[in-house]
């Protein structure tokens, strides 16, 4: 086991150890990479029933005050975000580089401000950037006293609404404040697996109790970061710091759908001029799905070759247990981004046949009502 003594611990650390997890370092936290059943079994279980993920390492905050101060930093149209709705959005630097991807939602009613969830590895930087830009017009209240759980899979809704009947009204990307076993929770119908499911913010001191309650349902198994990664990769979802970073814009990352139409019309998001020009002219490189033809996965960092020339790099790669074969994502020259385009991946010094594949590798099964 990795030495995790000096790392931050989530409120569920003791539960992970009790469940026999192998703990590893991730973004400064001791996190479960897998439980004894292993990544393959955990992955398949999530697609067949329901998986419980501890994502308490992620940053949670409430933003109050002038929402325009937050909107100026991201790509969403917050005036269109109604109470009970959630949006996926991007935090951009002045050059249009992606500082983070985040969820912003309005679970607390019309006047309760916004609930924001950002990535673990970037939360310090994100929150500092927001506070500086808010300059007294808006306030960021970090919710470090809350844990975050994700319950994902086709059985997630039956399990969760059995405990929280009111949550049955939620469809994909809706949210609210609910009561679970007497505890006030913020829940959204969303996730990072491509499956139906919920993300559930709970008070840190109640996290163990709620996690155990969810795990007491035979349909629910604990799932580690290993399967979380293979699930999101099959679902074609980006991992920050790998599939996108400050050197990539939303146009290159194929995330232009996350830029609200009115923000494009107003040309008022960070890096807007540059990004809108990339959208109009086509970026030099583009993120694509890649399907290797042979059995060996191409991992992050593998060079992508086309007709003898290096045309890009793999940014995520592994085996897709539900897809039943290796899967990858990476950046290629934009003229090679069309599904079916033949590529070669350099794995251990050998060029291996692959092709551009449409994303996702496994169909999304979000609940849209």
């Amino acid at each position: 086991m990795a030495d995790t003594a000096d790392l931050n611990k989530t409120p569920l650390y003791d539960l992970h150890v009790e469940l026999g997890a192998r703990m590893v370092e991730f973004a400064g936290y001791a996190m479960p990479v897998q439980y004894p059943s292993g990544i393959m079994t955990e992955h398949l279980h999530t697609r067949e029933a329901a998986g419980l993920f501890d994502v308490s390492h992620m940053g949670q905050a409430r933003v109050t005050g002038d929402e325009a101060a937050l909107e100026a930093l991201i790509t969403a149209d917050l005036s269109a975000l109604k109470p009970g709705e959630q949006k996926y959005t991007l935090l951009l630097n002045a050059d249009g580089g992606i500082m983070d991807d985040l969820m912003v939602s309005r679970p607390f009613g019309a006047d309760g401000g916004l609930f924001v969830v950002v990535n673990a590895g970037t939360k310090g930087k994100d929150f500092a950037h927001m506070r500086e830009a808010f300059a007294g017009k808006a306030e960021l209240h970090e919710l470090s006293d809350r844990a975050l759980l994700a319950l994902q899979g086709p059985a997630a809704a039956a399990v969760f609404t059995g405990l929280v009947p009111d949550a049955a009204k939620l469809v994909f990307m809706q949210c609210g404040v609910f009561t679970l076993d007497g505890v006030e929770i913020y829940a959204s119908r969303s996730g990072y697996t491509g499956e139906d499911g919920f993300e559930i913010s709970v008070p840190a001191d109640k996290a163990g109790k709620i996690a155990r309650l969810l795990l007491s349902d035979a349909r629910v198994k604990p799932i580690g970061l290993g399967a979380r990664d293979s699930l999101r990769l099959e679902a074609g979802l980006c991992l920050y710091g790998h599939d996108m970073d400050e050197d990539r814009t939303p146009a290159e990352a194929a995330l232009t759908w996350a830029i609200a139409k009115v923000r494009r019309e107003r040309v008022d998001f960070p890096g807007a001029a540059k990004i809108l020009k990339q959208i109009a002219d086509g970026p030099a490189q583009k993120r694509v799905g890649i399907k290797p033809h042979d059995k060996s996965p191409a991992r992050e960092g593998a060079e992508i070759v086309h007709e003898g020339e290096v045309v890009g790099v793999v940014t995520s790669g592994g085996f897709g247990p539900s897809f039943g074969a290796p899967v990858a994502m990476g950046y290629v020259r934009a003229d090679l981004a069309k599904p079916g385009t033949p590529l070669e991946l350099m794995v251990r010094g050998k060029a291996r046949a692959a092709e551009v594949a449409s994303l996702p590798f496994t169909p999304h099964r979000f609940y849209r009502g």
Partner: protein, 121 residues
Amino acid sequence: MTTRFTKDHEWVRLEGDIAIIGITQYATEQLGDVISVELPDVGKSFKKGDEIAVVDSVKTAAEVYAPLSGEVIEINDGIEDAPQLVNDEPLAGGWFAKLKIADKGELDGLMDEAAYAKHIA
């Protein structure tokens, strides 16, 4: 018939001048679910310590080094078709290759079961 172990978690079992090689239970536990194995070509010779095979698991790729010098005379096609065998039976059905070895003396540098158990403890 003795089985010997390397510090890199390969095992080798000698039958006459034929060495059967594979990876240990501990190695498979560290790797997790094996999803593909690249085995060497029959007829190719390796020196002790050369990379002879590669194992890919859901988590990572790992090189397998030749525990002894020799020429590959047979590979286990079974684990190319059903890599899960490496997890299920690392010391039996999950063997990797058979080598015709030249120098049994190379075996002396390897660990016996008790020493290996201590190595991974």
